[in-house]
Amino acid sequence: MNAKVRDVMTPGPIGVDYYQSIGTAARTMRDWGVGAVLVVSEQALYGLVTDRDLVVRAVAESRGPDEPVGPLSSRDLVGVDADDDTAVAVALMREHAVRRLPVIEDGQVAGIVSLGDLALHNDPFARTGLG
C-alpha cells in the first residue's frame, strides 16, 4: 500500500541550461506541461526554477524574457530517493518548507516530485488528470 516516490514523481527530469533565456524556460514548461524545470550549469545540477519564480523573480522585477534563467533558480535543493516511501517525501517537504524535490536514482536525477503529485496521489481528483 505504501507508494514509492518513483510511482508518483514526474519522471525524466526536464532541464534548461543556466544561460538559456527566461522565455525558453517558460516555453519548456508550457511544452512539457510542467511547473518546474531543473537548471543545469556546466553539466551539473545548479538549481530549480518554477513558473511562479519566473513571475515573481523576473516579471515583477522588470527582468526581460531574454535574460538568463539561471539567476532565478532556487538552490540548495533537497533530494529524495526514488525508492523512498512517499511519506519520506512529505516529511522532507515539511521539514525544509519546499514543494518540490529532485528524485535521485543511482546518483542521477530521475525526476521531480511535487506537493501536487503527492496530493493527487491521495485525493479525489487523481482520476481527473489535474495536477
Binding site: R57, A60, T128
Partner: protein, 139 residues
C-alpha cells in the same frame, strides 16, 4: 456535515482592472504572496489570471508584460461559485471543467477564490499535506 464554499475559500481576493498590465499583476502576486488575481471589467468579474497563466501566455509567447494587459490573457472560464454553495458543488465544477481555481462571487462582488488545493485539503483534513507551508515564491 455539508460544508459551504465560504468555509474553505481564500477570502479577500486581490482584484485588478482588465486594463492593468501583467507587470502590475506580477508585482501584486509577489507583494501579497498570492498566485491568482481576479480581473474586473467595468467593475464586473471577467476572469482570473494565475502566475502560471503569466508564464504560459506572456513569457512563453514573448509578449511584453508591461504592455500586455490582464484582459488580453485572462481565462474565459466564467463558472463562479456562491459562498453559500456546498463544497460538493465546487468539487463537481472543478472536475467537470478541468479548472484549478474558481472565483467566489456574492451579489456581484468577488469575495474569494477556491483552489483545487482548498478542496483536496477539505477532503482530507487529516493529511499531512496541508501542514506544508507555501513559501513565496514556491520552490
Amino acid at each position: 456535515m455539508t460544508r459551504k464554499v465560504r468555509e474553505i475559500m481564500s477570502a479577500a481576493p486581490v482584484c485588478m482592472a482588465a486594463s492593468e498590465s501583467v507587470s502590475a499583476a506580477a508585482m501584486a502576486m509577489k507583494e501579497r504572496g498570492i498566485g491568482t488575481v481576479l480581473v474586473l471589467s467595468g467593475g464586473r468579474f471577467s476572469g482570473l489570471v494565475t502566475d502560471r497563466d503569466i508564464t504560459i501566455r506572456v513569457l512563453a509567447e514573448d509578449r511584453d508584460p508591461r504592455t500586455t494587459c490582464l484582459g488580453d490573457i485572462c481565462g474565459s472560464e466564467l463558472a463562479v461559485l456562491s459562498p453559500d454553495d456546498d463544497v460538493e458543488a465546487a468539487t463537481r465544477i472543478v472536475r467537470d471543467r478541468a479548472v484549478r481555481r474558481l472565483a467566489v462571487i456574492a451579489d456581484g462582488t468577488p469575495v474569494g477564490v477556491v483552489s483545487i488545493g482548498d478542496l483536496a485539503l477539505d477532503q482530507d483534513r487529516r493529511s499531512a499535506l496541508p501542514q506544508i507551508p507555501a513559501p513565496a515564491p514556491n520552490r
